[in-house]
Symmetry: C2
Subunit: 317 residues, 2 copies
Amino acid sequence: MENYRFPKLIEIKQAYQRIMAYVHRTPIMTCSTIDKMAGCEIFFKCENLQKVGSFKARGATNALLKLSPSQREKGVATHSSGNHAAALALAANLCGNKAYIVMPSNSSQIKKDAVKGYGGEIIECEPGQKFREAKLEEVLRNTGASYIPPYDHMDVIEGQATCALEMWEEKIPFDALITPVGGGGLFAGTILTTHYKSKKTPVYAGEPKGADDAYQSFKSKKYIPLKNPKTIADGLLTSLGKRNFEIILALGEDIFTVTDKEIVEAMQLIFERMKLVVEPSSAVALAAILANKKVFAGKKVGLILSGGNIDWEHLPF
Amino acid sequence: MENYRFPKLIEIKQAYQRIMAYVHRTPIMTCSTIDKMAGCEIFFKCENLQKVGSFKARGATNALLKLSPSQREKGVATHSSGNHAAALALAANLCGNKAYIVMPSNSSQIKKDAVKGYGGEIIECEPGQKFREAKLEEVLRNTGASYIPPYDHMDVIEGQATCALEMWEEKIPFDALITPVGGGGLFAGTILTTHYKSKKTPVYAGEPKGADDAYQSFKSKKYIPLKNPKTIADGLLTSLGKRNFEIILALGEDIFTVTDKEIVEAMQLIFERMKLVVEPSSAVALAAILANKKVFAGKKVGLILSGGNIDWEHLPF
């Protein structure tokens, strides 16, 4: 363990002030039908309605704005093909900076178009983690840009923590909060804010059984990297971050794993009953509640719908 | 022309007071990407997030609650397999009354389940308008229930008019409003409220080319019934109501027709960019704006997303 310094409440509040002109304050929605099925009262925080369709806009914007003016002038860079890439591209665009996004050449056209549409400059590399990292190194060397990682970075975690800050500002007396967990940025941020705002309120996460490294790490209290992940929740195919793991282990309540079948069923419920488009990763938290009704019975539960970017050609239902 | 008496503003306001405990006050959402594409500022009133997933909850509830106690005791009835059936079933259920819903025997199981789930009693009949009407007559005779038609009824129009009332209460200085038109309940109600709240503001409708009886009737100033409709917008496969036509002809601004291709493209935009599930009928209004950009250029446009009940097995994209 590295004993990282965790962001304080005042820093999370400052992050919110810093990013609020660039991100949406997303609504909280409820659904009586789902409440009846779940046996508890769920408050859905709609980050699928966030800029770029994902909570990732918060962390990327915060990390970018914490750079010095001279750093920002040289731009930011990351290697990603998902929501973080789009979020960083848009954040840089809105702030008048450059974003270099390293993407494997076999990324789908739709993902490339998204990053381009938000104003990011795509640098293609061969598929594979090693090639991505090497290409990113090269970009950083050539441009002097700052690397903004997708989750294993305190400024990113601090940004994601502003989502729960908005939730607590609504004055709902949550008995529990729950998020999905992949790299752990959203889960760790939600844990931190909740720890400061209501120490007694437990924060849970849902994780796909096919990518359960956070569960394994949390239960064994030892960092276990993800191997051969396989799940429909394509936003959660990443190893937990080291910083994220320390926060989760110290202050997180529990992690529930769910099957892809449970994820798809929860996703369909949200589509049909709430009329909201969510990506499979978003449905993991609801799936976890429905599979663990006793834990949540009668409680007021704050649930973060993390994103809404889905591949329409491969809708799972 | 029958010269029907149109509901007054005070009556629409009373309707809102009457139904507000039974329906949602739906949010208004915006989307900068769609605004850029459309060249105007669109305020989407989300009736897809209404009870039963459609604005129809408003009219059905208002018509039910305007019945006398002795009438209500005998229940309400309609013949429909769509959103009005579900809306009437739920309204009756919430108010402690019975709803008899005449449905053709070949209706999909999903539609039957919806009506049953909301507490309606389904009476099956042979497919075909004549059989539906005969069976409804029989039900009314046997039960003494009151018939609540889906749109051609002033209490229903008055109820649908409460949607625009909520919109005008938001103090947005709309330059125009637009809705889809099928039977004309929502369009006529929106026209009435807007006429009272801001006489100079034009109210438009979008209609599928494959079911353009409202367009034909409006342009020729003569009621022309719908023949052999064919469109993906299954909520708009109905002839314009007579009462609705009088209101539309007297106070409506214009009707634009759009192709099914344009409807599907608009629907996909709303899914992908707004993360909202809408039925094809809902997308007709946006399709009409995108096909008539000059009319709306630079304006603030209030658009009603009428509903969100779609058949997932036949998603058009």
